[in-house]
C-alpha cells in the first residue's frame, strides 16, 4: 500500500503538472481538491484517465470521482479494491 | 624660368610654344593632318592605318617630342591626355556597319580604334614609352585636373617624364594641345600657367 501511495504521488505530480511539488510535500490525508492541493474538475478528469491508463480501472460515473479523489489515501484504497 | 614646351593644333594651324609653325592650305581636317605629317618629315607607315583622333594625337606628340630628351628607362616615361568626344567619329563608323542587319560587316581594323587610349597606345609605341598612361574624358581641357594628375605621379615617384594634354576630334572641330614635363621642372608646373598657354594658343588659332 505504501509503495502504491508513493507511486501514485509521483503520477499525480506528473499528470497534473504540479512541477514545484515533491512527493513528500503531499500529505496522504490532505484533500486533493478545494483547499488542499487546489485541484479542480479538469484535474478530476485527468485523474480518471490516470486510473484507467495506469491501473486499468474504469470510472464510469464521474460523480464518483469526488469520493475516490478525496485524498491520495482514498485513491490508493480505491485502486487496491478495484484492481483486477 | 624656362617655358614649358607645348604644341597646339587646331583650325589648320600648328603652334609650337605659341609660335605659328604651319598654316594649313587645306581646311579639311584629315588633309591638314597630312600636311603636318609631311612637315614632321618622318616615315611611319602605321600612321596611315590610324583613325583621325590617333593621327592628331600622334602628330602633336611627334612635334612636341622633337629634340626633347626623354628618360632612358622606358617605364619612367608617361602620358596623360584628356579628350571630349572620346572616339565618336570611329564609333559612328562602326555603328553604321551594324545598323543594317542584312548588310552586317563590322570591321576589326575600325573597331580597335573605338577606345580613346589607343591614341596614347600609338604614341607609346612610337616613342617607346612604357610608363604611366591614362586618358580622361572631359567636356573641355581641364588644366587643373591634368596638373593634379601629373604632380601626383611625380610625387609618387612613378615617372621621370610625363606628357600632358587634350586631344579631341569631332565632326567639325578638332583640337590638340600637348605639353612636356619632366621631373626637374615639375616644381614650376602650375595649372594656371598651363591654362594660360592653352588659352593663348587657342585664341591665336582663332584669329
Amino acid at each position: 500500500m505504501d509503495k502504491l501511495i508513493e507511486e501514485l504521488k509521483v503520477e499525480i505530480i506528473e499528470a497534473l503538472n504540479l512541477e514545484d511539488m515533491e512527493p513528500e510535500d503531499i500529505d496522504i490525508n490532505e484533500p486533493l481538491f478545494g483547499d488542499g492541493l487546489g485541484l479542480d474538475s479538469i484535474d478530476a478528469l485527468e485523474l480518471i484517465v490516470l486510473l484507467e491508463k495506469n491501473y486499468g480501472i474504469k470510472v464510469e460515473d464521474p460523480k464518483k470521482g469526488k469520493e475516490i479523489f478525496a485524498s491520495v489515501k482514498t485513491m490508493a484504497e480505491y485502486i487496491t479494491a478495484h484492481q483486477k | 624660368m624656362q617655358e614649358i614646351k607645348h604644341v597646339y593644333i587646331a583650325k589648320s594651324c600648328l603652334f609650337v610654344n605659341g609660335q605659328l609653325v604651319l598654316k594649313g592650305e587645306n581646311s579639311i581636317f584629315v588633309k591638314y593632318l597630312k600636311e603636318v605629317y609631311k612637315h614632321t618629315d618622318i616615315k611611319y607607315s602605321k600612321y596611315f592605318k590610324m583613325d583621325p583622333l590617333s593621327k592628331l594625337g600622334f602628330l602633336a606628340a611627334e612635334v612636341l617630342l622633337k629634340d626633347m630628351k626623354c628618360s632612358e628607362s622606358p617605364e619612367r616615361n608617361g602620358i596623360i591626355l584628356e579628350n571630349k568626344v572620346s572616339t565618336y567619329l570611329v564609333d559612328v563608323k562602326h555603328q553604321v556597319t551594324i545598323n543594317d542587319k542584312e548588310n552586317y560587316f563590322p570591321s576589326p581594323a575600325n573597331f580597335v580604334y573605338t577606345l580613346p587610349n589607343v591614341m596614347t597606345g600609338e604614341i607609346c609605341i612610337r616613342h617607346g614609352f612604357k610608363g604611366e598612361n591614362a586618358v580622361f574624358v572631359n567636356e573641355a581641357f581641364d588644366a587643373e585636373f591634368v596638373c593634379q594628375y601629373i604632380k601626383s605621379m611625380y610625387e609618387a615617384d612613378k615617372v621621370d617624364m610625363l606628357i600632358g594634354g587634350f586631344v579631341d576630334a569631332d565632326e567639325d572641330e578638332y583640337e590638340a594641345f600637348m605639353f612636356f614635363t619632366e621631373k626637374d621642372n615639375v616644381s614650376e608646373l602650375d595649372a594656371k600657367m598651363i591654362e594660360d598657354l592653352y588659352l593663348k594658343s587657342k585664341s591665336q588659332a582663332e584669329e
Binding site: N17, L18, E46, V49, L50, E52 | -
Partner: protein, 339 residues
Amino acid sequence: MAIYINGIGLISPQETKSNASFLEEVNVLEGDYFKIAEPPYKEYIAPRELRRMSRVIRNGIVSAKIALNDSGLENPDAILTGTGLGCATDTEKFLMAMSENKESLLTPTSFIQSTHNTLGGSIAIGLGCHNYNMTYVNRGFSFESALLDAILMINGQEIENALVGGFDEMTENHNKLLLTQKHYAKENGAVAGQGSGFFALEKQINENTYAELKELETYFKPEDSAIEEKVLQILKTHDVNTSECVVLMGFNGVPVEQNKYNELRDSVFLNSCIAQYKNLSGEYYTSSAFAFWAASQILKKQSLPECMLVSGNVPSTIKHVFIYNQFLKNEHSLILLAK
C-alpha cells in the same frame, strides 16, 4: 485619429522582459531554433494558476502584464491577440496522446489549452476583463490582423484603448517538420523562432508613450511593384524623411525571399538606416510583434542596438520606424511608427 503605443511587453529569445534595457546583450542561437529566454514566471503569475499553463500561455500572460504595467492601463477596452500556431505544445500533446492511446484515454487539460484563443481568454480571466476579446489566426498576418482590429475600433470610436498582442511558440517536433521545408531548410533556410509581444494602444498620449502608430498595410501575394508604390505613398502621406527613418526589415537569410527586401533597401530606403530583427527573434508567424516592440524602443530610446543594424548610418534623430515584413513571400506587411 492618433493611436499611441503607451506600453510594451515582450518575451522572446532575447532578454527583453525589461523595457528599461534594449538588447544590450545578445543571446546567440543554440540548437536548431530560437528558444525563449524565460522570465521568472512566479513573479508574474500565482503558482496555482501557473500549473496548467503551457509556456506559450505563460509567456503571453507575462508579456501582456508587462505591457499593461508599463502603460498603467488596468482594464483594456479590448483584448486582441494574433497567433499563427496557437498553443502548439498542448496541441501536440493532445495529438500525441490520441495517437499513442489509439484515441482513447484522452485527458482534457491539453485539449482545452490547445485552442488559439486560450491566451486571450486567460488574460481576460486574470484581469477580470469582460470586454471585447478576439483572436486572429491568419498565418503571417495574425498579429497585423489583431492590430488592424484595434485601429478600426479606436478610429471608429468604439473603444478608447486596446491590449494587442502577437504570440507563437515553437516545439522540437514542429521544428523537425519545418526543417523539411525549403523555407526553413538547414542550408539557406530561415531559423525558426518564437515570442510573445503585447502592446497597450491608447488614443491619449502620455509621458510613457513610445510612439505613434501611423499606418498599417497588409498585402497578400502582391504584384511586383505594388510594395514599392505603397511604400512611396505611405512615405508621402506621412511626410517621412527617409534619412531620419530606421527601416526594420524581416531579413531571414532565405535567398529567394531576400530580393524584395534588397530592392527596397537599394531604392526607396537608400537614404535610410536599415535594420533587422529576425537574427534575434527567429522566423515565425507573428515575428512582426517583435519588430513592433523593437520599433517602439528605437523611437523612445532614440537609438538602434548594434545587433540590429544592417546598413546605413543611424540618424541622429530617428523620426520614424518603418517595419516591412514578409512571410514566405505571400504575406507582406508595412507598419509605420512615428516618434
